[in-house]
Amino acid sequence: MNVASGGFQPPSSADFVFSPFIGQSAYLTKPIALIFLSVLVISVFFFVAARKAAIVPSRLQFAGESVYAFVRNGLGRDIIGQDFARFVPFLFTLFTFILVNNIFGIVPFLQFPAMSRFGFPLVLALLTFVVFHAAAIKKKGFGPYLKEIMFMPGIPKFVYVILTPLELMTFFITRPVTLAVRLFANMFAGHLLLLVFILGGDHLLHGVIGLKFISPFAFAVGIALTFFEFLVQVLQAYIFTLLTALYIAGALADEH
């Protein structure tokens, strides 16, 4: 059904495509600018937080240190175990980068989570993919690692025909893809949800007199969902990093 002209245009995936700031360059768009801004924000924050490191930390230093300690202890040490130290920089970068970019989705005037464009989470997932396979290959060697993935011990031989493709597909395709899709889908759906309520409320406000009274409810739900969205954004950043840590842990673990 086509809506009559002047009717409400529901938000769609077209709202995620931005025209360039200047000229026709595809690289001068809002998501890219947000990515660079996030890098700047993170660098400045941790640089300032670490600059005057003191035994009795300032509030800024304390904030920076607690984020670091959360990733190092909660995600690195407790999950990877033993040999976690060399993966902490990667995990920490991943966590802060995704977190700041997600939260940009509800910061006034920025209001766009860059991770709702599929390219960004895909690249992060591919990085994770390279890191955990490289860690495993470095530790076990290519042949034994592949053998460990492909052949579970203790099952009859002919079952391998059915199970080996599944193992290979899980390790090399499904894991990175689901990792990227989970982050992308959450950010995309969340942003769309907020758009529906805020744009809908705005549309109702300009409608006939009876509809104006409904509009505040739409805005109220929109605001409530903004807080819910904040929760989802933090959670997704955590889950992405958690899964990365789990994959690394699985790659380093000895098969028993």
Binding site: G81, L166, T170, L243, L246, A249
Partner: protein
């Protein structure tokens, strides 16, 4: 807090990652064997192999999950 990680947390404890990996395995099973069935259907002009593939894939994934996480 030792540098070498706390000894009481066993990183191989299935619990933390199992739920996520299970979904990955199930997706792989359904997509791989379901896809194989779909291709076979496409090739032979039949309609049955897709369902056969999906059931086989789901069964294979469940068996694999049992091997990984259910076996004591």
């Amino acid at each position: 807090m030792s540098q070498n990680g706390s000894p009481e947390t066993d990183p191989q404890d299935a619990g933390d990652g199992a739920a996520w990996s299970i979904v990955s395995y199930l997706l792989s099973g359904l997509i791989f064997w379901g896809g194989a069935g779909w291709l076979l259907d496409h090739w032979l002009g039949t309609k049955i192999f897709l369902l056969v593939g999906l059931v086989l894939g789901a069964a294979a994934s469940l068996y694999l999950i049992w091997l990984r996480y259910g076996r004591q």
